[in-house]
């Protein structure tokens, strides 16, 4: 502390700009971010019609946790986040290994895999809704040609959430692959050389060199896709609107439906719950991933 105080003082004297130059940014940040955040904490404790707010304590939260489909939404959210981030790690890593090796048309394949990331989520959702139609969709018609009766991808309550998760993976795996490619390329060649001299097989190369040394990339992919999975909304809304019934509802779609119905207080309470849920799951996760990284 004392050691660093000296250069800090020096810096301050040398700085041409006074601290209150931060004021405009601080004002914008307070008005657009801090004020709504704290206001929403207050409104989550009220029954709110946009004109009038009646203070009702924690009733909204009690309501939120009492309802069966809200709880199901919570469970679905976690399932969805785990599936999508898990698959993105595994598939993204596999694709990255393939795309950093000497294969034909590498540049072309890299862009093909990244392409879905650039397409609008709503567009992807609507396209797959058409493809996954139980009788007229291209997927089931193709399956029918080889004699398989395809399932109702989006209309079977047991499958709907997983179908949407798969589309999410299809759309998002390109980003994970790019992060992994960057991570793999950064691994010094010396390790592979040393491993080869020790007579390591390709499999050993992967498990003892590539995998541990790409941990920073893994941490990034997991964190990004897990947070993305937790607050996912657009794809689910475009494909199933949380249906059939409540089978693929996530916290975000439940919150949106409450808002649509005019339950402003209740939906704000839902947002507070989502905020806490993300914080509770992601903060320890990043701490865990980053600590491991420090040990390397």
């Amino acid at each position: 502390m004392t050691a660093s105080a000296v250069p800090a003082l020096k810096m301050q004297r040398r700085s041409l700009y006074p601290g209150w130059f931060y004021a405009p940014a601080a004002a914008v940040y307070s008005v657009l971010f801090l004020a709504p955040t704290f206001a929403s904490l207050y409104f989550s404790l009220t029954r709110w019609t946009l004109f009038d707010a009646t203070f009702i304590g924690f009733d909204n939260f009690a309501q939120f946790f009492r309802e069966p489909f809200l709880i199901q939404g919570l469970v679905n959210t976690v399932i969805y986040a785990v599936i999508t981030s898990g698959l993105k790690v595994v598939i993204g890593m596999a694709l990255a290994v393939m795309l950093t090796s000497q294969i034909m048309a590498r540049g072309y394949l890299r862009s093909v895999i990244f392409f879905p990331v650039l397409v609008s989520t709503i567009g992807v959702g609507m396209t797959f809704t058409v493809l996954m139609h139980p009788t007229l969709g291209m997927i089931n018609q193709t399956l029918a040609m080889i004699g398989i009766q395809g399932p109702g991808w989006l209309v079977d309550p047991k499958l709907a959430l997983f179908s949407v998760a798969l589309v999410d993976v299809w759309k998002g795996v390109g980003l994970a692959t790019v992060i992994y490619i960057a991570g793999l390329v950064a691994i010094p060649k010396d390790y592979y050389e040393a491993a080869r001299i020790d007579g390591a097989t390709k499999l050993q190369n992967f498990f003892y060199v590539t995998l541990p040394l790409s941990r920073p990339a893994t941490a990034t992919v997991i964190t990004l896709s897990f947070i993305g999975g937790l607050r996912t909304f657009d794809l689910i809304w475009a494909m199933t609107k949380g249906g059939p019934g409540f089978a693929s509802d996530t916290v975000a779609s439940v919150i949106y439906k409450q808002y649509q119905a005019g339950f402003y207080g209740l939906s704000t309470a839902g947002n507070v719950v989502l905020f806490i849920l993300i914080a509770v799951l992601v903060v320890p996760l990043t701490m865990f991933l980053n600590r491991k990284q420090g040990h390397e």
């Binding site: 004109f51 707010a53 139609h133 139980p134 249906g243 059939p244 019934g245 808002y259 005019g262 339950f263």
Partner: protein, 429 residues
Amino acid sequence: MTKTKLFALTGASLLGLMMTANAVNAQQSGYLSFLIDNGPQSVAVAEAWVAAYTEKNPDVTIDIEVRPGGGEGDNIVKTRLATGAMADVFFYNSGSLFQAINPVQNLLPVTNEPWQAGIQDSFKSVVSAGGEVYGTPFAPAMGGGIFYNKPIYEELGLEIPKTWDEFMANNEKIEAAGKTAVIQTYGDTWSSQLFVLADFYNVLAEVPDFAEKYTANEAKFATTPAAVRGFEKLQEVYEAGFLNADFGAATYPDGLRMVATGEGAHYPMLTFGIGAIAETVPDHLQDVGFFAQPGDNAETNGLTTWMPDSIYIAKSSASPDLAKDFVGFVGSPEGCDIRNEAVGATGPYMIAGCELPADVPPAVADMLPYFQEGGHNGPALEFLSPIKGPALEQITVEVGSGIRSAADGAALYDEDVRKQAQQLGLAGW
């Protein structure tokens, strides 16, 4: 609480100021904005009204704005009203959804306007709040019941069912003939509610005071056997395997096409679908008939009716007099004639002096006897009670596709309704 009000008020008055600033320009040119939903019917009729009105008043400009229907549309209407940014004149539901947009605060009363004298009291009662009338009918009255394919009925020699058992027996025969008996379109979730909502006449026939008790938190769907019947009917058609193969993904336009072309025999729907059939499959308009959703007693067979949607004037309107003049034009016999010409006749009008043309489609002709002398009809629940739970359409999809039992669905809906009642601040909840 005061703080909130103050905040909202400042916002509103700011917007108000902006609106007034616009108004100075707008009033000179006689400008109105008119917000409707994006159904082809609504658009066609609104365009016809605006064209006729501006032809009479060349100095007036009316912009038609379009919004989505369903829950998405509710959201837009509520948000625009709350922020004072609503169009001058707008289209929205009557009944319980009307009660949820805070009419006393947001809308301009039209109780004593001249054209209101010609409007039926039964309609006025579903667009009134705090002793004032706010709405003018946008369309004819509707019935909720079952569209059927006439060629299939003729081919199999079937009779119009008067009881639910007869209906299910017809379904058996249709299924045995290798045809789809009942069409459901859960791809548009709202369409899944019909078996429950259109059963309300039958509920009233058995429990006449259900609506009052339900509003007062004294009667529940789950504990009133007559009210659970609607959910049970939904479950029965699913369990009997009468539904089209793609019932989970098909949409409302699919359903109308299927019942018109004979891909399916029955489609539970509101009669406003007639207009869309006339537009999309005009060759088959004559093939579609209509009957009320059967109850358990042939003697009391009758129709659950829907009051038309309505047009309202926003309190924030910058040109209220012009808006009133336009709404009065729409709510006159002349307005009805223009509608008949633009989209055809779909049901009886709520406006005195409005006539149906002689050659109405068969489905409309089938509906009229329920409204005439000796016919039985009763309003849907949403016109007798301000409470409608927002999750009904998801619950009916669940019951209608075997995910949840009828009894469970009814109980879950009672829970959903409680939230709405509390939000409206009703006594006894």
